[in-house]
Symmetry: D2
Subunit: 286 residues, 4 copies
């Protein structure tokens, strides 16, 4: 069996010795470092780090690591940090509307065991993709949303998410604006896929806009959702070339492949706890 | 010696038989077709075509082809068309400011004989790159521009362009807005390079804006200049991936390679007469 | 309802007038051309064409078009041609082993109605992916293969393919060499995905070989299967950048996304009848 | 004036504490670390590091750093290391034959002051590009090479390189095999550009081979020259898509842009001392 590992992500004002102290903390306590990636933003003078070590033989009990680390280092260095364990699978909810390509792509990875995640439920504002939930044995809940019932339906969704202890949400071409309340309940924990290379073509119908503008490249962008539309921290982007021969339908078709790959890459990085958000930008560790 | 060829570009409302008639016109008059690319925009119902044939043995004298074609077909089919000859090199002026990478890239191709073009002059609003004109034996004119003298200086530039019979202008990171008057004198014949994947980051300092936004991809766009800033028909775009580790200086550095390649590709397509503009978009023939 | 269209693909020695005659044939018989793409290989002097027209109102009965076209043009111009109808869905069999990513990707497109194809069966030499057949309601047949039973098992497979009137086969990471007999029964109708940018890393374990060689880019290639291993006509290729930090497991992981996208793009082009094979190369129409 | 920095590259068997000790060594001696990138190859159990610090105020005199570091750490940890100073420009010789695109691209960067390097001379086996040396005021030496005089001419070249204290050589489409003797005199210090995505199409005429094979992607590869042809450590690769419409001439034309960009990227990484070679592979630091 693969042993459990601790995963620590942090950032703080850059100072000499942080790296040495943190690695020391782990080594002295008999932890075997299996991963270390660090980076200094010299313009902002911020130190970023992701470090992971085997818990087997580690002298500090798992449930006390956070406390110790906080007391010993986090306060001293003004660190913002998060501690995870590889044995604790995050719980992810998928929100969809009528398009299936992103959903299928994620469920294929999930079912094949590629992702260290649990998907307790799928939520949709339409019933069209219910059959996919059945195919993959995942509960599928339909919450039709209109102007009148939006607040009420979102409240019901949030109760369901809480009941399932959902850690983060993936909007897999979910064609609804998420309300501020839900966004604030999941800060940097709602991942969206937008079908353009943001910040080009913010908002609705980006393929139509791209066609109108006559671009030679289209793209897709996955980002964390913030209260400003399509303006949250970008996790991943990818593009594909088009020509004057491509119709809007061709753009939609080519774009689907981009969307699902870009979204799945972003979700994978999130699941692996390799994303740090700082000032509306992401640091993506290797 | 390579024989001279005629190059015909046209578009018109799509109707059955256009292709057959045009190829017939050439074949019946003993022209050997060496290139044909056509395309129908079914949404707009417009037929686009580029056709090229050897003039050797062609029954219609070179100087009368335009007249004949106009009388026989263009009026009948409401064609917009342009006729070129491979033996007539277009004359291209390059406008620069202080950055040399695009200029060098084009002059290297020109000097190596890769482009069927003449470059009678380089114009700049700064003297910094004068030495490059000297290195490549191309007259280099400096027209310092400020708010007061802009109109006057542009008038002098236009006289110089007229004197040299310049057909089209390439703005190789020329850091000045071109006035409407000059744009209208060269419709779809001023090629600009913008250092972003338009329509993202229109206007000044796009690398700074890209850095601020935290994008994972930067790009460059070459387009024909219209009176609306950075909104003209796009000829070519290209991108490169960046990461959170890239500073603005890194973006500028990586972007330079994009800019020069994208601009040179666009200029080459223009020189080869393989670009048609229709409704603020380009059709790029193979 | 969408009307049925005829789809004609052909190649022949290039001569003046072919294009005009073929378009004339359709127009004179009241066919409305909805697609035309042609291309001349000047080095080989071969004319390639794909043309499609609405059958509604076409004067020649559907079942006689092939005969007429053959008599009138194909013999005269020594054409090799194939005629298809959009209303006739090709039947496609998928062969798999233990990896599911390509299979899921194709079934997702199929189930979403993106592909004009029927998938009557999946064949595997292992039982691992049987559950996917069940999820998508597609019969899944297991033919375990070893040195002793290979000939016999392939014969049984071929009977099954014949019974289901399968037109073409997709090897979706099927880890068995197909015998000559089966290849010859499906000439240019078996599509394989190879997990390298061919011709680099032919044969087994290309990701290991790529890792050993220290390349900075990995790729995937879909091609028609010929009797020479990994040497058939290439339909599509794609690549992704890697770094020294990527382990073999990372390569396998990144490669999976390439493989499924490249294979699905190739299959789609094949389903749309947009691929012509000539001298071990493909002409891919728009 | 920009202050001078020390640049240390090293690798050694991975052990706990190396990172801490090295950063300590610098910090304790009042060096300000301005760059640190490290990486552990867990499969090989090798630790790689690049670290850079300001020399201003550093307690150890510049000329003694290497000695101290060697005594204190390199022996203890069995390190292979190289120490550079930003103030010491490496000297680079360019070898060319008849194609100018890579040469122009490098000289443009050099002349624009983008590269911290000196180019004391260009060597060619043909006189065709002599004019470029003149344009850029760089001595250009012609050593025509044939089977009979090869050894003698290379000896003369090596004397010239020695006289100019050349540190590394760039083969900018130099169409001659370098002899073992010269390769061994410049281990991992001769950078070549090969016009294919290696290991595909090793040897002569790769574009012709790519055309014959019918690939959909062509590439270029820069690598250090070893005695095995086209098999040295790869520094950088890039690709571009082609179609069936591209002739060999098109491939050559598109390939030129790849070649020059890939070669210049590799040379830049080498100049910045960001490349480490380990077991025929490169570690490329950010």
């Amino acid at each position: 069996m693969k042993e459990e590992a601790a995963q620590l992500l942090l950032y703080c004002p850059d100072k000499q010795g942080i790296l040495a102290e943190v690695t020391d903390f782990i080594t002295v306590n008999k932890g075997n470092i299996i991963y270390l990636d660090q980076y200094v933003d010299h313009a902002e003078n911020v130190f970023f780090m992701r470090i992971s070590w085997d818990l087997d033989g580690f002298l500090i009990p798992k449930e006390k690591i956070e406390d110790y680390f906080n007391t010993l280092y986090a306060q001293k260095y003004q660190m913002t940090f998060r501690l995870y364990f590889s044995g604790t699978k995050p719980k992810m909810a998928i929100f969809v509307s009528k398009m299936s390509h992103c959903l299928y792509d994620m469920l294929a990875r999930y079912t094949a065991g590629e992702w260290n995640v649990e998907i307790p439920l799928i939520i949709s504002n339409h019933p069209e993709l219910e059959h996919i939930g059945r195919r993959f044995d995942i509960p599928f809940y339909v919450f039709p949303i209109n102007k009148e019932n939006k607040e009420e339906q979102e409240r019901a969704e949030m109760e369901l998410l809480a009941k399932h202890q959902v850690n983060f949400i993936v909007l897999a071409r979910y064609m609804q604006i998420i309300s501020e309340r839900m966004i604030e309940a999941f800060p940097n924990r709602i991942i969206n896929i937008h079908h353009s290379f943001l910040p080009a073509f913010i908002g609705a119908k980006p393929y139509h806009a791209a066609f109108e503008r006559g671009v030679k490249i289209i793209g897709a962008t996955s980002h964390y959702v913030t209260t400003e539309l399509d303006a949250g921290p970008i996790i991943e982007q990818e593009i594909v070339r088009i020509t004057h021969k491509d119709t809007i339908a061709d753009l939609v078709n080519k774009g689907k492949d981009l969307e699902k790959i870009v979204l799945s890459r972003a979700v994978q990085k999130h699941i692996e706890r390799k994303v740090l958000v700082y000032k509306n930008k992401t640091v993506i560790f290797n």
